[in-house]
Symmetry: C2
Subunit: 193 residues, 2 copies
DNA sequence: CCGAATTTGGAACGACCGTTCAAATGAAAG
DNA sequence: CTTTCATTTGAACGGTCGTTCCAAATTCGG
């Protein structure tokens, strides 16, 4: 029998994801990826396929770790209303942290590739849609407990919250100012009060 | 004396702007630009400098035509409150039109280049800041005429409106659905009512 | 140990990247 | 009509792109 892979393909994909996250798809070269992933070109192609395939895997990984897992944790930890507010608080904290300028890979990708790559557009669109569904679901539950006033229409408010969140993600890259981000978060809170 | 330029450098820059707008900076090659601008490579470099310099001129042109001129027209045509609502209405109309999937070059650029190019970041940041100032200024005037309720804080609400607008610009590329965009616009209206 | 099987790192490929440059072009001054 | 010279054109440059391929390396069943 031959041997097993010597590198941890999961950790390696993580490195690729971080590179795409920081620099975008087009601006990240295969040489950049070879350097930062720490494996040879041959291993890279054998394990992950070509650049686009690798990117899609990295994007899926991001979606899992930084969207599904994240919202699942918030939903488990906090009350419906608090989970929504925590989304905005944690985005602010991340944006003002040292490595926060990267924003959100899903949003970055929405603008760079969605118009020209159907498969990528599908992943991005579904991620955004499920984020909207998270907001809507939390709002429905919060209304039953009285945490959110009756006049709030979950479907409508969820869309507005998503727009505010996406806007904050753009500001994180273009104008990472605490006052700006905090004001947006405050308006999100006002929207559900 | 030698001759004058034979091509209209203004119309040519417009073509370059459209190419960058549709495909982004990295994905648009000099060959693409030569093809769509309709001039030779030498003329291109002699007139506009290198790729980055050309992009900055295209970005400045976009900022002038699709942000300054646009908001100036709205401010002249409509009442303060109506001008704000018109911003959102016109973005929706543009997003659902045939060539609407391009979104906004300033927002696209914010994510692609702001983190890695200071000069570009400055143009983007100033454009967003002046858009926020437009909202804030309209809100101040609208409050004096009673078009907008007293409890609205112009500085805070302007930031939220900007976030909603930027969010819509992202949706235009990733999820160009009338219902989604209309809901966001409706929440913008609710924010100033 | 050995040989089979598979990964590995790096050399090599053609294509395209952004950029430069020199020769051809043609309107205007004399 | 000749001279002049900036504009124009497209060929050409070195470098880097994404990708392929192969010889060397390595581990595990025999």
């Amino acid at each position: 029998m031959p041997w097993q892979k010597t590198f941890d393909s999961d950790a390696t994909l993580q490195k690729a994801m971080e590179a795409f996250w920081a620099r975008g798809y087009e601006a990240t070269s295969m040489q950049d990826l070879v350097d930062c992933m720490g494996i040879g070109r041959g291993s890279l192609y054998a394990t992950f396929g070509d650049k686009r395939t690798l990117f899609i895997q990295a994007l899926r990984r991001y979606d899992q770790r930084h969207r599904r897992d994240w919202t699942a944790r918030l939903a488990a930890e906090a009350s419906p209303r608090a989970a929504i507010l925590a989304v905005f608080d944690e985005v602010i904290q991340g944006a003002l942290a040292g490595d926060g300028r990267k924003g959100c890979l899903l949003v970055n990708t929405a603008l760079e590739l969605s118009a020209h790559d159907e498969q990528v557009a599908g992943i991005v669109s579904q991620g955004l849609t499920e984020m909207e569904a998270f907001f809507a679901d939390r709002l429905v539950r919060a209304k039953t407990t009285g945490e959110v006033p009756e006049h709030v229409i979950p479907g409508e408010t969820a869309k507005a919250l998503l727009a505010l969140l996406v806007g904050m993600r753009v500001f994180t890259r273009a104008r990472p100012e605490r006052a700006l981000l905090a004001s947006v978060a405050a308006q999100a809170q006002a929207l559900i009060s």
